[in-house]
Symmetry: D3
Subunit: 241 residues, 6 copies
């Protein structure tokens, strides 16, 4: 008898994923990304100035910020602007998003420009950081195209695509793309960020409740490779539409 996931999905089955670009009137790039009921709005803002420490080196910078609307969650979460600071979790996530995107950017080709990716979670149902990275790539690509049309970049800025997915061991079975109910219960969960060509950019596995074996980790990696293969297709389709 096989595992029953709360959503009825197969262990290696992603949620329905949609990526809609061009959703923000003001931004140079944008994407509304849905991983099932998780919904994140990403904007890419191009600035022709750089932070002080990065200037004068002929290279650019890509950075990210992350936030959750207070009622994106099942019970209301305190607004970070009202609390007066970003939580450790928020900072961890936005640092992860920034690193993930930078891994596919040719900073010399970008020139002395900065692109800021704002990832705001409208609805949360698990996997907000992986959805954010996947959507941020689309918003970034759109912004880079906008720059290329204005001859603001030198050559090819994006060396590869990048996407992310979470996997975990749920009731003893490795599963792909955890939703909130699975995430809460999973003994182990890991986030994977891979390029379109299948290389690893980030891997973050945590097993606070039950340490995992190397074999389990291998299974999660294989699931991630499958999921990111699919996400890469959806990204390409969204960008070529």
């Amino acid at each position: 008898m096989s595992l029953q996931r709360p959503s009825g999905r197969q262990p290696d089955e992603m949620r329905a994923v949609t990526l809609e670009k061009g959703v923000a009137r003001n931004a140079e790039g944008s994407c509304l990304v849905c991983f099932g009921a998780t919904k994140v709005l990403v904007t890419a803002s191009v600035e022709t100035s750089l932070p002080g420490w990065r200037r004068g080196q002929g290279v650019g910078w890509v950075t990210a910020e992350y936030g959750m609307l207070p009622r994106s969650t099942g019970t209301r979460t305190r607004r970070e602007a009202a609390a007066g600071k970003q939580s450790g979790r928020t900072q961890e996530i936005q640092r992860l998003i920034g690193r993930s995107l930078r891994a596919v950017v040719d900073m010399a080709a970008l020139g002395e420009n900065q692109i800021t990716l704002d990832c705001d979670v409208l609805e949360a149902d698990g996997g907000t950081r992986t959805a954010a990275i996947t959507g941020a790539y689309v918003a970034l690509a759109e912004a880079v195209r906008w720059m290329a049309e204005r001859e603001l970049v030198k050559g090819t800025v994006l060396r590869d695509t990048v996407a992310a997915v979470s996997c975990g061991v749920y009731r003893g079975t490795p599963v792909l793309d955890l939703d909130y109910l699975e995430d809460v219960e999973a003994q182990t969960d890991a986030n994977f960020v891979l390029t379109g060509s299948g290389r690893f950019v980030e891997i973050q596995g945590t097993a606070e409740q039950a340490p995992f074996t190397r074999a389990e980790l291998e299974s999660l990696m294989s699931l991630a490779e499958k999921g990111i293969g699919e996400l890469t297709q959806v990204q390409r389709a969204a960008l070529s539409s």
Copy 2:
């Protein structure tokens, strides 16, 4: 020769207004409100506990928070959570929204419950605070209905409807519902919050550039009464759908 508004509207013409309720899966009430290109997502969160100073009096509380996504604006605005505090403008607006909604709530009927209205601006094109108030009423009404269905309230909570609009003197002519281009240039601008029955809840007029006469103020009031009459119809339609 008559005034040419940037949008081609008549002086007493509102932008296209839409109110869509039920847009947030997790919240007890929600509304996506558009005043032209201004787009605000409002959620209403019901909590069965109150802040300490309000407890034990047999009455409830309604409060609001306001935020702008960093790229809701033409150039990116710094994220308040990253800056570590809410600006004076943000605080002013969220205090205004809270007061406006409380003006139509029977706190005894609400019982010892709190409703928090989170108003997050997805796209800004002028009038974000008036759109927020207008949409917040719809989200609030939906949340109150949710509570009534669960017998969490005692009698009729909402004594009236409430909506808001801005008016201003643009190139010498009083106009209704300023968009961003008009707002920047207006000598005078005023925000009006009125009930569905035509009473004034708030009036905030500012003339940093050119003080206005009482006659001008009277014209703005009349425009506001017209605009809010229309908004009240749209609110009723949204709630009865």
Copy 3:
């Protein structure tokens, strides 16, 4: 039978108002303003530099800050410097004071200088923001005169005078210049900022408890016009002494 105000005043009667200029040894302009038992010390500080965003445009800037001594109130209020931030109310008030004063200043005549108005409440009995604006005009005028004597300005800096008063509906009757006891109980209250020539700079009316009719608003406006007429006389007398 007529309304009994706690102070025994007539509905259209201001409290005793005094404005004493030149009270701060170090400041270029200063004023101790009393509206009855409300007492505010205002200083005007002239600086020959501007905030970064305002530089190089040939114009000046006027700004204001507001604070209450912890025991200006009936029970001690927490010191904002100890709390680590200014409350939303404080920020709203200091923004209002700044806008009100700027409305009568010719920024080109001021040249690239900044004047900061510090309004510190020594005793509070209602109407602290309107007293602050009224006294700040006197401190500002004194500072401008100080600058003129040193040929630091180009022509006439002050285009008009400006003063402020609050009005409200107290026990059903519109009354002028609310004191604390009236303010707490008033269904509606509004702050009016007018120039000496009778034009409106700001109007902020709030009816959290009982929305008001347009007719009531008209009555409050008329009271404000009367009160500000009187305040303007007191300002002129103070400055010509």
Copy 4:
């Protein structure tokens, strides 16, 4: 040829000192204290509750806060509430004031009550902390009397009087009660807090520029004893008036 002090005073001569009690309508005790041009407003607030760590021990607490109005100084000082924190100097001073007053209070007689002394500098010309302590004693005594009249205390709360003065070596000569011009230039300066009966509560001597000899320190002590003898008389006169 003798030393010429900027004020023309003799080396062992205090500035004119005035202490006016009962100046704040709302506070249980208050005092406006002037040491020459230095002017500090002190209020004493009685609270019948204690901070958590002090409760249930049958004893009270006395604490102090200190602030300077932004334009109490020759050039405007940034408002600490706007800066978002109290400086190290402010904290040092308010801790000193609190300790000084506590040294003469019988905490058991005070009962489980707290008195907060707010010391706000209206004009600064050197010696603000010593003026604050001297005035705070008067405000405290007035508040204690107010409590005694209401039978809120058990027996004699104040075991002694307390006052403070600064002394320093100015151009080689030990002088009493430094004003701002002397303070800036003094090689050495020390603040002394003594009881009315001539005992030392605090001594803080600093010689950042030129270390001092024990003989110099002895001279400063003698000056302080003389000055505090005089301050004690002024305090007694103020309280018996």
Copy 5:
């Protein structure tokens, strides 16, 4: 021709590791841990109360804080207490340390007690977080023994040991236990937290500069398994001494 590491080590060779327990007079457990020139002082503090959200469930809590002395680094780093907040990096690290230790703790056996692990870096030469985890286990074990001696715990608290090490691809070769010079230059680096029995608690791999292949990741895992095997021996020796 083989890789030349800056330290002359073999690719799979750890730095000299020392673990000295009982170094802090006041703490219930403590450990001074050195990974080569990296030196971290860890203390374990036992508290018999829990944070509010954890109370009344019959289980305990283990948490960690991390800091670097300002001059533990080659150039002075700003003191976080002076900056007014912990950086995102600090928060990430202390969250990692806490999770890693909790993975081997039986919270029911710990009872309603909290243990806080303070990890302060005295000297930094790469790998501070992995050294901190490895030393924190020793301090934790000492604190648990202290509790057991006082019968404060119920049965066996520690289900396993835990240690951590970083690995990376340095000049194309996977190497074990990166020092600072290697860390700066590595294309890829990963931190591994494993139990003494060889299971994975955390894996955090980052490839900001050059995404890595699955084969490279496998090599790093094998190195980590070897390194942690050695660290586990050193931990056992330290605790049995």
Copy 6:
């Protein structure tokens, strides 16, 4: 019958004092100082730039920061970086350390360089600030020697040595170098900072519980002179080793 000190020391007897220089691999100067069980790690960091307000005057600057490891104390103290600010006590102490060191520095000889002394308490048993000053002098001297070897200074930077000790009245007897048990109980305690040539740099005496007489203060001064004579010998020995 004579006084019994908790440590068995004579009233005029210092604890065992050790000063070990060169303990921090990265810093230009460093010292591990122990006053009995009190242990402070001091580093001196040389920077060739100055804070803005000090630039362009041909002189240098010396400043200090102070911190306590959370478990340097008997029960854990909250980490200031986590609390988000330095306490008033911390600020007072670091300002004291800075002033004390500056008193013996020839700022012109130092040139436009800054030296920052970081004093971090590893173990606290009373007298942390006096130990910090005494050790900071050694770290500073080592850093100055480092600079002299690189010809970064002009002539003799250190005009004298400086050290510090606390004295107090314990059970009626004046004693030298209070440890924690004595400090808690002492009616009076004073910190003395003296130069090697016997001049006073700082004296801070506090008598919150029982005001002291001039005669008592004289006794404390004599004890301090004795103690600092001994500390000066230990400093010289440490630096010449």
